[in-house]
């Protein structure tokens, strides 16, 4: 078996998942070394696969025949770049989380990465679905691991939402397989009911508007290291699946544009620093979805490049947030300020992340976001281009300026804080370095892209134009802050689309409560109260009732002269009550019974 593994390699997804199982048995230095070895092993396994070699690690699925194979290794130009960044960021996140004693986070985090790799390299819908659900469950534990009441509630909502999304995906897969008799997939497009179900399931994981509420709800409640993991995998693997299945779908262009710009409004007034970053994540994924919708080679390249760069600077943002929260104990923007003196390195890393997300020249956002916007302009999509440029300026406002300004500069609140521990600084340093390096040596990034391009980000015109957009946006920010027009952070929860199921669930529960209990009470009244007691009353005096029923047709004959119908009835009941029934009645009833028996048998 070992030679076969060396020859054929082993799916990186399973390296992570099986590797996760051994973590609780290790301690101390051995555990650190083991944790960091897992991504390295996975990278080796992935690199050993020939890009042009076709599908790898194929398992026939029972006896369904060809077209139903489980393909664990579809490694081509599109999936490879996602695989590389997933493994890379898991390595960085593991360094960041090295001093955490909670094994649950490691196991959940590693399974989560494994699930994401499984989704990325899945060549068939069945394997895709299995790893999709692995991701959902593992990530729920990363939210639960915080072990606060809010985290439990958020995790519950999170897993419910993802179960619904997973079911939609499953429904779509089942319909698709029935229609096309195969589980293999590439571009599907929006042509059938099946594809709509799949789209909704995938769009939910991608946090596309209006299915984005779960992300801003759950990510701020996760553990400090867990959020770093969470920020990278669910949404980006969904972007990959979108790029694989729904390239060029026009609906995605508009959904992506809306997803890019609407969360910006929330991010400008939110108070919890990780909630701001969650909205920021949703916004940037909107850019990627828009690019997938545009569908040209430049656009898909842009989506992949932006995913790569975004994972790096978003993880850096969440790492900075985690460091600040751990050092100060505060999660809200309104409670923070003046931290550049006590946490200078963290401040520097935050500025690098801010410059990257704003697509400032010489930072990696510039070489990736520009591709998406350029793709939009190449296709002459004026409205989309304007929306994306507007969202870019907005990104600068809330992420490029608001976050670092109000956390590290601004009003000095005299918060006692120390610089982050060494492993966090190293992890942040690696991510920050890559944010800078990939912008300078962008060719090394472009070499990994699905399509050969020849896109040149640094033209004089483009750099000047981008600097104008960013710096005049910054001018607007500073002027509005100076004249107190800039909104203060929101003191309470802002309603977003997750309100639909949060309030809706309460309404449904109340309606079910009132409705079902009323039905229950009515049934109790009817069946137990009325009908049962009626039957009981009848049964108590059944012989008399039945006798009277049989005899009453002959009332006129049997009646004595001195009474009405009551006479007959009361004499029968009296007779049964005393136990002495007149022979005549008994004889008559017996004869009747025998006649009936004779007739029907």
């Amino acid at each position: 078996m070992i030679p076969s593994i060396i020859h054929n390699g082993f799916p990186p997804a399973l390296i992570f998942i099986i590797g996760a199982l051994l973590v609780p048995f290790l301690k101390g230095r051995a555990k650190f070394a083991y944790l960091l070895l897992i991504p390295i092993a996975a990278l080796a396994a992935m690199s050993g696969v020939d890009i042009n070699g076709g599908a790898r690690w194929v398992l026939p699925l029972m006896n369904f025949g060809p077209g139903y194979d489980m393909i664990f290794g579809r490694i081509d130009n599109l999936s490879r770049i996602f695989g590389i960044i997933f493994i890379l960021i898991s390595f960085v996140a593991l360094i960041y989380s090295l001093n955490i004693a909670d094994d649950l986070q490691y196991v959940a985090g590693l399974c989560y990465v494994g699930g994401a790799l499984g989704v990325t390299f899945a060549g068939d819908l069945f394997t895709l679905y299995i790893f999709w659900e692995v991701m959902a469950i593992a990530s729920t534990f990363l939210v639960l691991a915080r072990r606060t009441r809010e985290a439990q509630a958020a995790a519950f909502r999170y897993v419910m939402v993802h179960i619904v999304g997973g079911l939609s995906l499953l429904a779509g897969i089942v319909l698709y397989v029935k229609a096309f008799n195969t589980t293999e997939f590439s571009v599907i497009g929006l042509h059938s009911t099946a594809s709509w179900f799949i789209l909704i399931g995938v769009a939910l994981n991608a946090a596309a508007f209006p299915l984005h509420g779960w992300l801003k709800d759950a990510y701020p409640e996760a553990t400090l290291a867990g959020a770093v993991f969470l920020s990278a995998f669910t949404t980006k693997s969904a972007v990959y699946v979108m790029a694989r299945m729904f390239t060029g779908t026009e609906l995605l262009v508009w959904v992506g544009a809306a997803t890019a710009v609407i969360p910006v409004l929330y991010a400008i007034i939110e108070n919890d620093i990780r909630r701001i970053m969650a909205y920021s994540l949703i916004s940037q994924v909107g850019f990627m979805l828009c690019a997938v919708g545009i569908g040209t080679q430049l656009a898909i390249n842009g989506a992949a490049a932006h995913a790569f760069c975004h994972i790096l600077y978003k993880a850096l943002f969440f790492m900075v947030a985690g460091a600040v929260i751990q050092a100060t104990g505060k999660t809200r923007l309104s409670d923070l300020g003046g931290l550049y003196k006590t946490m200078p390195l963290t401040c520097l890393y935050c500025l690098v992340a801010s410059a990257s997300i704003s697509a400032f020249p010489l930072f990696n956002g510039f070489v990736s976001k520009s591709m998406i916007i350029s793709a939009a302009s190449h296709e002459h999509l004026t409205a989309v281009w304007l929306i994306l440029e507007c969202a870019s300026a907005g990104t600068l406002v809330y992420a490029g300026l608001r976050i670092p300004y109000f956390i590290f500069f601004g009003e000095d609140k005299g918060i006692k804080a120390v610089e982050a521990p060494a492993n966090m600084l190293i992890a942040m340093g690696v991510a920050a370095f890559l944010c800078f390096y990939l912008a300078v040596d962008f060719k090394s990034l472009y070499r990994l892209l699905p399509f050969a391009g020849g896109y040149v980000p640094y033209t004089f015109a483009h750099v000047i134009a981008q600097l104008q957009l960013l710096l005049f946006g910054a001018l607007a920010f500073f002027l509005l802050v100076r004249y107190d027009v800039f909104p203060s952070p929101s003191k309470s929860d802002l309603p977003d689309t997750d309100l639909i199921y949060r309030k809706g669930a309460v309404l449904f529960y109340r309606a079910a409560d009132v409705g079902m209990n009323a039905l229950n009470a009515f049934s109790a009244e009817l069946f137990i109260g009325r009908i049962t007691s009626a039957v009981n009353d009848f049964a108590r005096n059944a012989p008399a009732h039945i006798a009277y029923l049989c005899v009453s047709p002959f009332k006129s004959i049997l009646e004595t002269d001195d009474g009405g119908a009551k006479n007959l009835k009361s004499s029968i009941y009296k007779a049964f009550a005393s136990g002495s029934v007149p022979v005549g009645i008994t004889a008559a009833l017996s004869t009747l019974f025998i006649v009936i028996l004779f007739c029907f048998i």
């Binding site: 400008i268 004026t382 406002v397 957009l469 960013l470 710096l471 607007a476 107190d484 309470s492 309603p495």
Partner: protein
């Protein structure tokens, strides 16, 4: 003129803190003095000016025609940022601050 519009918003938002805010307003220096004192602000304004001038020296071959208008990106950046910030305020005004965190 700019100061008046700022203080109008202040009066609406902080009725109870009127004397404090007035004191703060009185302490705020006009932009030009800040620019003279703080080198970063001066530098920033200089850079903005340079960018505006450079716009006439670059050959923008934008596929979207409006992008070729001179100073388009500067104006659009400023306006977008302002619109989004006011949009955020509108969002809060519309949906309000319902439950306390």
């Amino acid at each position: 003129m700019k100061k008046n519009s700022g203080s109008k918003k202040n009066n609406r938002e902080s009725k109870g803190h009127q004397p404090e805010k007035n004191k703060q307003k009185a302490e705020k220096k006009p932009l030009l003095t800040i620019a003279k004192e703080n080198p970063y602000v001066t530098g920033f304004i200089v850079v903005l000016g340079v960018l505006l001038i450079l716009d006439f020296m670059i050959h923008k071959h934008e596929k979207i025609s409006i992008g070729n208008v001179p100073e388009f990106y500067a104006v659009y950046g400023f306006v977008s940022a302002a619109v989004l910030i006011f949009g955020a305020k509108a969002l809060r005004a519309l949906f309000g601050q319902s439950k306390k965190r």
